[in-house]
C-alpha cells in the first residue's frame, strides 16, 4: 500500500486556538472526509491484521446505509461527517520504555491537566493508560499487572499481542451495526484501551485511562473493551478533559464490558469535556455507546458523573443474560447554560433472578435541558427479575428543563419493576437560609447539589469522588443570579 505512505506524509498545520490551550507537539493527520479508503488507511497505519480491516469495512458499509438517530430530546446542527478528520496521532515512531522518552510537550499537557504521571505512578498506585488524541503514549504498571496475568494496554497493542482475545470479544456486546454512532466508531476507531482480567483474579488497583481530545476538528473514536474472566474483579476509571475551543467536536466512543460467570466489573466515569461557552457556542458532541454483558451471577456497575459536553447522548446498559446476574447504573448529569443531555440506561433482563438498580440524578441550570431516558426490559425468560429505578431531577432557576422518559416492559409475570421519580427546585428560601448562616449562594448551591447527588458520588472511588464534587461546583458556577 504505497499510496498510503504518501497520505501519511501529509501534514496539516497545527492551529492555534483563541481559548484554552492546545498542545504544540506534532500531529499526524489524515485528510478530512470518510470513505472506504480512509478506513483502509487507518487500518494500514495501525498495521492491523486482515480480519480487523474486514471488520471495519463491514461496519463502514453498514454505516453508509444508516441515518443519524433523531429520537433523543436534543437539538443541534448535525455534524458534517465529510468535514472531519478521522485519524490523528502524536508523531512518535518508536516504542517508549520510560518517561524520558515521552515528548516534553505531552508531559507539559499532563501537568496542565493536573495529572503528573510520576506522582500518579508513585503515590496512587493507579496504572494509567494515557490517551492523547488516539494513540496511547505510555502504559504504566503494566509489568506489575502482568505478574497477575492482567492485560491492560492500548487497543492497538492488544490487537497485535492478544489477537485471539480481541477477535473473540470485539463487537460481541455492541455489534458493528448496532447504531449509527457505534457503526461509525467500528469503522474508524483509532485506539482506546483493552483490559483482560484472568479467571479468579481480583485486580488490586483501580485501572484508569485519561482521554483527551487534542487535534483540531478531529472526531474521536475510542474503543474500550474490558473482559473479566470467571470470578474475577476489576474497577475501571475513565476520566476525560479537553482543552476549550470554539468549534464543535464529535466524539463517538464505544465501550464494551464482558463479565463472565461470577465476575464483577465496576466502571466509573467522570466526564467534563468543554460544554461550550455561556451562549451555547462550541462544545463537544458526545455520542457514546456503552454496554455490558453479564453471564451467570456476574455483576456490572456503571457510575457516571457527566458535567461536560454541549450534547450528551449516552446510555450505559447491561444485558443480564446469566441467571442471578446484576446490573447497576448510578448517574449524575449536570447541564448548565445551553448544554443538552439525553442520558440514561437500559437494563435487559434475560436470566432468572436477575436484579438491576437505576439511580439517576439530573441537575439542570441556566437554559439547559436534561433528560433521563431509560428502558427496563424483562423478557419472558426472566423469572423473578427485579428492578428498582429512581430518577430525580433538580432544577436551578426557571429557564432550564428536566425530562424523564422511562420505558418499562415486563413480559414475565413473576418479574417486578419499581419506578420512583421526583422533581425539585433549589428554592430562594433554601439559598437565603444558607446565606443567613454565612454561606454564599455559590457555595450553597454546591452544598445542596452535592447532598442531592451523594448517593451516586458515594459509589465512586475516593479520589474520583472528590474530583467529581469539585467538578459539580465548577460546572454550576454562575448558575444563579
Amino acid at each position: 500500500m504505497a499510496y498510503t505512505e504518501k497520505e501519511l506524509a501529509k501534514e496539516l498545520e497545527t492551529k492555534k486556538y483563541e481559548y484554552g490551550f492546545t498542545s504544540d507537539f506534532e500531529s499526524d493527520v489524515i485528510e478530512k472526509g470518510l470513505s472506504e479508503d480512509v478506513v483502509r488507511i487507518i487500518s494500514a497505519k495501525k498495521n492491523e491484521p486482515e480480519w480487523l480491516l474486514e471488520w471495519r469495512l463491514a461496519a463502514f458499509r453498514n454505516w453508509e446505509k444508516m441515518t443519524e438517530p433523531e429520537w433523543a430530546h436534543l437539538h443541534y446542527t448535525k455534524p458534517d461527517f465529510q468535514n472531519l478528520h478521522y485519524y490523528s496521532s502524536p508523531k512518535s515512531k518508536k516504542k517508549l520504555n520510560s518517561l524520558d522518552e515521552v515528548d516534553p510537550e505531552i508531559l507539559k499537557t499532563f501537568e496542565k491537566l493536573g495529572i503528573p504521571i510520576e506522582e500518579q505512578k508513585i503515590l496512587s498506585g493507579v496504572a494509567v493508560d494515557y490517551v492523547i488524541d488516539s494513540v496511547s503514549v505510555k502504559t504504566t504498571f503494566k509489568e506489575k499487572l502482568g505478574e497477575l496475568g492482567i492485560i491492560f494496554s492500548s487497543f492497538s497493542e492488544a490487537v497485535h499481542e492478544h489477537p485471539e482475545l480481541v477477535k473473540k470479544y470485539l463487537g460481541k456486546v455492541v455489534p458493528p451495526g448496532d447504531n449509527f454512532y457505534a457503526a461509525l466508531n467500528s469503522a474508524v476507531f483509532s485506539d482506546g484501551s483493552f483490559c483482560y482480567i484472568p479467571k479468579g483474579v481480583k485486580c488490586p488497583m483501580e485501572l484508569s485511562t485519561y482521554f483527551r481530545i487534542n487535534e483540531a476538528n478531529t472526531g474521536q473514536f475510542e474503543r474500550t473493551l474490558v473482559v473479566a474472566d470467571e470470578n474475577s474483579y476489576v474497577s475501571y476509571l475513565e476520566g476525560c478533559t479537553a482543552p476549550q475551543r470554539d468549534e464543535n467536536q464529535l466524539h463517538a466512543a464505544v465501550v464494551e464490558l464482558i463479565a463472565l460467570d461470577g465476575a464483577e466489573i465496576k466502571y466509573s466515569t467522570v466526564q467534563n469535556w468543554y460544554p461550550g461557552d455561556e451562549n451555547g457556542k462550541g462544545g463537544i458532541f458526545n455520542f457514546v455507546t456503552k454496554r455490558g454483558l453479564c453471564e451467570t451471577a456476574a455483576k456490572i456497575s456503571w457510575t457516571q458523573v457527566e458535567t461536560g459536553s454541549a450534547i450528551t447522548w449516552k446510555y450505559p446498559s447491561c444485558i443480564l443474560k446469566g441467571d442471578r446476574s446484576e446490573g447497576e447504573f448510578y448517574s449524575v448529569a449536570v447541564t448548565n447554560n445551553f448544554q443538552q443531555a439525553d442520558t440514561g440506561t437500559k437494563m435487559i433482563h434475560i436470566g432468572k433472578n436477575t436484579k438491576s438498580v437505576i439511580i439517576s440524578k439530573g441537575i439542570s441550570a441556566g437554559n439547559s435541558n436534561n433528560s433521563y431516558r431509560g428502558l427496563v426490559q424483562m423478557n419472558n425468560t426472566a423469572a423473578n427479575a427485579r428492578n428498582f429505578s429512581q430518577c430525580d431531577s433538580l432544577l436551578i432557576g426557571d429557564q432550564c428543563g428536566a425530562h424523564t422518559f422511562p420505558y418499562i416492559e415486563v413480559h414475565n409475570k413473576t418479574a417486578r419493576a419499581e419506578h420512583e421519580a421526583t422533581t425539585s427546585k433549589i428554592g430562594e428560601d433554601q439559598l437565603f437560609y444558607c446565606n443567613q448562616r454565612g454561606i454564599n449562594t455559590e457555595k450553597a448551591i454546591s452544598l445542596i447539589v452535592n447532598g442531592y447527588a451523594k448517593e451516586v458520588l458515594n459509589k465512586l472511588p475516593m479520589e474520583f469522588a472528590i474530583e467529581a464534587q469539585k467538578l459539580l461546583e465548577i460546572s454550576l458556577e454562575g448558575s444563579v443570579g
Binding site: S424, G427, E428, D429, Q430, F432, Y433, C434, N435, Q436, R437, G438, I439, N440, T441, K443, L447, I448, N450, G451, Y452, A453, K454
Partner: protein, 255 residues
C-alpha cells in the same frame, strides 16, 4: 455600653410597592434583650427579614448601623459572617445535607471571612457535643439532613443549636415560640438565656407574652402598622397580655 445596632427611620416595601415598615427607630446595646411585640401583619417578621437581608423587601428609606458599619450595604452572607443571626420562624429543609456538614460549612465560611483556617475536626466535634446539650438536641438529629422530617419543636431547637454554634453578636429570634409546647419553650429559652453575655444582644420577635416569662427582656417595643408605637420595660408585655393591642390603638388615635 456599646451599641450593637442602631436603626433610623427604616422604611421597607414589597416589590409591588406595598409599604410594610413605615419608619422604625430602634437602638440595641450590648448585653440587652429587646422584645418586639405586635399583632399579626404589623411588620415584625418583615423587620427581622430586612435586617437579615432578604431580597424580597426593598429598603426605601432610612439607615441601619451595625457595629459601626452600614448593614444595608452588606450582602446577607456578610451580615451573618459579621455575627448577625436570624432564628427563622419557618426553618427550611435541605435534603441530602447533614446538619453537621451544614454547620461545619457555615463555621468554616465565617472563619475564612475572618482570615482564619478551617476548624479542626476535633474542636468542631467537641463544640457540637457541648452545644447540643444546651438545647437537648437528639444525637440522631445531628446527622440527619438539615431540618428534614424534624418536628416543629425540633426545628426550633435546631435553630438555637445553630445559634449556639455560630456564637453571634446579634441574634434575632423570629417567632421562635410559635408552635412550641411548654417544655420545648423552656428548653429554647434556657438556650437563649445561657448564651446571653454582656457582649452580645438579642431581638426577640413574638406575638405572645408567654415567651417573655422565660426570656426576660430589658425593653419591650410594640410594633403596629409598620411603626413602633410604644416602648417600655418588661411590664409592658404583661399589660398587652391583659388588655390586648386595641387600647394602644385607641391611645394612639387620641394622641
Amino acid at each position: 455600653m456599646n451599641t450593637i445596632i442602631k436603626i433610623k427611620n427604616l422604611h421597607a416595601s414589597l416589590s409591588d410597592g406595598t409599604e410594610i415598615l413605615k419608619g422604625i427607630d430602634l437602638e440595641v446595646k450590648a448585653g440587652e434583650i429587646h422584645a418586639i411585640m405586635g399583632p399579626n401583619g404589623s411588620g415584625k417578621s418583615t423587620l427581622a427579614s430586612v435586617l437579615a437581608g432578604r431580597e424580597e423587601y426593598i429598603v426605601t428609606e432610612g439607615e441601619v448601623e451595625y457595629l459601626g458599619k452600614d448593614l444595608l450595604d452588606m450582602k446577607p452572607e456578610d451580615r451573618a459572617r459579621e455575627g448577625l443571626f436570624l432564628a427563622f420562624q419557618y426553618p427550611v429543609e435541605i435534603p441530602g445535607v447533614s446538619n453537621i456538614n451544614f454547620l461545619k460549612t457555615a463555621i468554616n465560611e465565617i472563619r475564612a471571612y475572618k482570615g482564619e483556617g478551617p476548624i479542626a475536626a476535633k474542636d468542631f466535634l467537641a463544640m457540637v457535643s457541648e452545644k447540643s446539650k444546651l438545647v437537648e438536641l437528639d444525637n440522631k438529629l445531628k446527622n440527619r439532613s438539615v431540618n428534614e422530617g424534624f418536628s416543629g419543636g425540633e426545628k426550633k431547637r435546631n435553630e438555637i443549636f445553630q445559634m449556639a454554634m455560630l456564637d453571634p453578636t446579634l441574634s434575632i429570634l423570629d417567632e421562635t415560640d410559635s408552635g412550641l409546647d411548654i417544655d420545648a419553650l423552656r428548653i429554647v429559652a434556657h438556650g437563649v438565656n445561657t448564651l446571653k453575655t454582656n457582649k452580645n444582644a438579642s431581638i426577640v420577635v413574638t406575638h405572645y407574652q408567654r415567651l417573655l416569662d422565660y426570656i426576660i427582656p430589658d425593653v419591650v417595643h410594640v410594633l403596629w402598622n409598620g411603626k413602633i408605637i410604644k416602648s417600655g420595660p418588661k411590664e409592658l408585655a404583661l399589660e398587652l397580655e391583659e388588655k390586648g393591642y386595641d387600647w394602644l390603638k385607641d391611645e394612639l388615635i387620641t394622641d
